[in-house]
């Protein structure tokens, strides 16, 4: 069978003639009497070709073609128009209506056969070609995706290599990339732009490749020379990435992620909106990851603390708009690693000797201290559930605080971080014992900073610790006076 032809004509003689000619040459033929009949027929069947008379009763041939082509999906079966009018208008109309060819009536058998055969072959060829194009396009797309994936894998591996240089920054680049992309998304970046900033985030520290590991990993004070070397990593990264002409923006993130909004950053000291927007976003993401990651003293920084840093850094270190977005993201806390601080080991301990303090009637002291921000439950636990001993410890703490302050201030003034550390360490334990958790966390952060000789951090945060200590002592005195 060479093919299946639907013949549409309201003239019986024509139908019979077409049927005879075509079936004699091994075609299957379906005879239909109107456009409406054809439309109904095509709902379920798909012949290889339609021979359509122009002058049909009811819907004429042109109208039928229009209907077929305007269906969704349009009928793609080739149509050859049958017409007794051999004028140019009819031919033009037929072809412009979407017919592939036309045959004059009465049929000349050989002509009809040749037209039918050619049209069917042509349309099969077209169909095959379309299929071929589709297959090739899919293959090309697959290849493209494969290359894209490969490039991304290479970039990620490179980022991991950079992070591996610094024992504290495992996964840092990938997280910065993620945070930067989230900020960009919130800021209304297109998906392409988001992906671009993601890659920029992955490679923002690429310049660290050129910094000796010994300097990157030095725990304590850097010399001025070493500090200058560290500060050269943005320019080094820029030099490395500027040659990637396919993604010219890559170099931007590397060069300007340490710029500050107030112009006090490096390497170029750009101010405000002069810093490329992507770099301003990466700067926020970078700072956030540094604060929230378990980097030496940073592991105790609370969400609250980070929010404070972002808030105060607005317009100074950070572009206010992007800092705000980061703050928003933190508040929503979607799957961020940062959680409310290390749960105090207190809650995991149980005491065999005394009943749970919770089951005892709450003491006035506890209620009042709770109102002052103390976590009295943990304080009471350390005091073995004994309220009067808890009060003794509170007073001991309050009475000893003046001496603690003097000791810390003394060593702080001398930059004697080793001794400073010993005293904030003691304060950490002592404050935890009485349930002054905020103070204890602040002490811990400062203790870790002192261990790392991070004078900058201590200078910034020591005043807050003193203020908290004084406030807690005042609270203890007030509460004790109240219950006397």
């Amino acid at each position: 069978m060479k093919g299946w032809v639907a013949v549409v004509d309201d003239d019986n003689a024509n139908l019979i003639a077409a049927d005879r000619i075509l079936t004699a040459h091994d075609y299957q033929v379906t005879s239909l009497r109107s456009g409406e009949e054809l439309i109904a027929f095509l709902k379920t069947e798909s012949p290889d070709l339609i021979l359509l008379d122009v002058h049909l009763t009811g819907m004429d041939g042109f109208e039928t073609i229009r209907v077929l082509h305007s269906q969704d999906p349009p009928v793609e079966i080739p149509i050859v128009v049958l017409t007794a009018d051999t004028d140019a208008d009819t031919e033009t109309n037929a072809l412009s209506a979407g017919a592939m060819d036309f045959v004059a009536k009465p049929f000349i058998p050989s002509v009809l056969l040749m037209r039918v055969q050619h049209t069917i072959e042509l349309s099969r060829l077209q169909r095959d070609l379309k299929k071929e194009v589709r297959i090739k396009t899919e293959e090309a797309l697959k290849e493209h995706t494969r290359y894209e994936r490969l490039s991304l894998q290479i970039v990620k591996t490179l980022a991991e290599t950079i992070d591996a240089k610094d024992s504290y920054t495992r996964g840092h680049s990938a997280r910065v990339a993620d945070y930067a992309k989230m900020i960009a998304q919130r800021a209304g970046y297109s998906e392409t732009a988001q992906n671009e900033i993601y890659i920029m985030g992955l490679l923002h520290d690429v310049g660290k490749i050129g910094i000796p590991d010994t300097i990157i990993n030095k725990p304590c004070h850097l010399t001025d020379d070493e500090y200058a070397i560290i500060r050269s990593h943005p320019m080094k990264g820029f030099e490395i990435l500027r040659n990637i002409s396919e993604l010219p923006k890559l170099a931007i993130g590397a060069r300007w992620h340490h710029e500050r909004y107030d112009g006090k950053g490096y390497p170029d000291g750009l101010i405000g909106k002069d810093i490329p927007e992507e770099a301003r976003i990466i700067a926020v993401a970078d700072a956030y990851d540094a604060m929230s990651s378990r980097r030496s003293y940073h592991d105790v920084l609370t969400q609250y603390y980070i929010l404070g840093e972002l808030e105060t850094g607005k317009g100074l270190q950070f572009d206010p708009a992007f800092a705000d977005i980061m703050i928003e993201l933190i508040r929503e806390d979607k799957d961020f690693r940062m959680r409310e601080i290390v749960e105090s080991s207190v809650s995991r301990r149980s005491f065999a000797m005394n009943p749970e303090p919770k089951t005892e009637p709450r003491q006035a002291v506890s209620v009042l201290l709770e109102a002052c921000g103390f976590h009295t439950e943990s304080g009471l636990r350390y005091c073995m559930g004994d309220p009067s001993f808890y009060q003794e410890m509170l007073l001991e703490f309050a009475n000893g605080s003046a001496d603690r302050i003097i000791q810390m201030e003394l060593h702080f003034a001398d930059d004697n971080w080793e001794q400073f550390r010993v005293h904030v360490h003691a304060l950490k334990s002592a404050s935890r014992m009485i349930g002054a958790d905020t103070l204890s966390q602040q002490s811990r952060a400062l203790e870790d900073a002192a261990r790392d000789c991070d004078a900058d951090f201590i200078r910034v945060h020591f005043p807050a610790l003193l203020a908290q200590l004084r406030q807690d002592v005042a609270s203890i005195h007030t509460v004790m006076d109240a219950v006397k």
Partner: protein
């Protein structure tokens, strides 16, 4: 009642330890520095020494090695305590012959275990 010597520069910790020992039915002797602790060892019989690692002046490890220098005190079981107990502390403690470590703030069950292990209670 066996004496337990607690050496810590922090008055709160000393009071806390004293209170805890009383509850655990032993007697706490307290010293505010390594030197004070060593001189107490000369006049009292002690079943266990608990020493704070972080102290100004002579720190806990120095105190312990000083104690160990005296043959009379070499066999007294010792326990180090610190706010941040990690492997480096444990290692150093073991090297100096301290059989146990405690994390501050002290919690009764842990202290109880240490006292039991060392035959104090």
């Amino acid at each position: 009642m066996t004496n337990v010597l607690v050496i810590d520069d922090d008055a709160m910790i000393r009071r806390m330890a004293g209170f805890m020992m009383k509850k655990l039915r032993c007697n706490a002797l307290t010293a505010a520095s390594g030197e004070e602790g060593i001189s107490l060892l000369g006049s009292e019989t002690v079943g266990l020494i608990i020493i704070d690692v972080e102290m100004p002046g002579m720190n806990g490890f120095e105190t312990l090695s000083k104690i160990r220098e005296n043959a009379a005190f070499a066999a007294i079981p010792a326990c180090m305590m610190t706010g941040t107990l990690d492997d480096s502390v444990r290692e150093k403690a073991a090297q100096l012959g301290a059989s146990d470590c405690l994390e501050k703030p002290l919690a009764v069950p842990e202290v109880q275990n240490v006292l039991r292990r060392n035959g104090v209670i």
